[in-house]
Amino acid sequence: MKEVIQEGRTREEALKAALEKLGADENDVFVEVLETPREGLFGLIGSRNIKLRVALVNTAPEPEIEPDPNRIASTLPGSPRVFSDDTPEDQVRDFLEKVFKCLEVECDIDVCEGQNDISVDITGKDAGVVIGKFGQTLDSLQFITNVVMTKKFGNKKKVVINVGDYRKRREESVHKMARSVARKVMKTHKPEALAPMPPQDRRIIHLALANYKNIVTTSEGTGKNRKVVISFKSGSPTR
C-alpha cells in the first residue's frame, strides 16, 4: 500500500499536498490524523502542525478512524464460519457464561434479540468487576463478544452489553459533568480539557453542549487519548 506522511498548517492543506504527491483523488485514500494541530503562544511559540498519514487504497473509501468493531473480523479473509443450529442469542449467552466462569464472577445473563441488535443484560453482586474503570472492562467485553460472534457464527447484529442501568447512569453523570465544566468555562473563558474517554462518552458531551451558544466542543488527540476540549467562543469559531 502506497502512503505518505504529510504535515501542514491545516488539515485541508496537508491533505491536498499529500494527494498531489500520491496523484490520487480524495476518494481513493485512507486518512489518519497522526498529530492534531495546536496553537502556540501568540501563534508563535510551540505551535504544531497537523500531521496526516494518507494511504492509497484500492477498495471503496473507508471512513476516517473510529473503527467499527464489526469490520475487523468480517474483513479478514478465509475465516471459516461455523454455522450451527443455535440461535445467536444462545451463542452469545454461551460465550459470556464461559467468560464469567473463568472470571469467577457470579451473575445472571439476560439475552434479548432485537431487530438491529442483541442486547445483553448482566445482573448480580459481582457486576461491578465486569464494568471496570470508566466501563473499560465492559467495553472490552462487548468488543470481544462482537468479534467472536461475527467471526465464529457470522452474526451480523451488534451485541450491546449492559450491566443493570450502568450505561444509563454513566450517560447521566457524563452529562452532568459536561454542564458543570461548561459553566466554569463560561465564567473563566479558558478552555478546559476533560479526561480521555471512549467515543460514546464524547458523543454525549458534544450533544449535551450543542445548544450552548458560547461554548464550542472539539475532540483532540488520537486513539485512546482522544478527549473533549470545551472552550469559550468569542466571535470567531475556534476551528
Binding site: 469490520r71 473480523a73 471459516p80 469467577e104 473499560q136 470481544i144 468479534v147 467471526k151
Partner: protein, 76 residues
C-alpha cells in the same frame, strides 16, 4: 486465568489447535506468553491493537481479585 485467556484467544483465531499459552510467574507480576499460528497473529492483535488490548483489559479485571499484575505478550 489461563483458562480465560485460552477461551478468548481460541475464540478469535482460525486454528485454535496451534494456540499455546505459557505462564511466567514473578514475585509481583505474572506474564502470559501467547503463541499462535503465524497467520493468526493479526487476528489476535486486531486493528490498532484493539483486540489484544481488549483481552488485556478483561484479563486484568480477572486479576484484580488475586491482587497480581498481569501482562500479556504475543510471541511472533
Amino acid at each position: 486465568m489461563n483458562e480465560l485467556l485460552q477461551l478468548l484467544v481460541k475464540s478469535i483465531v482460525d486454528t485454535p489447535e496451534e494456540v499455546t499459552i505459557s505462564e511466567v510467574v514473578g514475585e509481583k507480576a505474572v506474564v502470559y506468553e501467547i503463541k499462535v499460528a503465524e497467520s493468526d497473529i493479526g487476528k489476535v492483535i486486531g486493528k490498532q491493537g484493539r483486540i489484544i488490548n481488549a483481552i488485556r483489559t478483561i484479563v486484568r479485571a480477572a486479576a484484580v481479585k488475586d491482587g497480581k499484575k498481569v501482562s500479556i505478550e504475543l510471541l511472533g
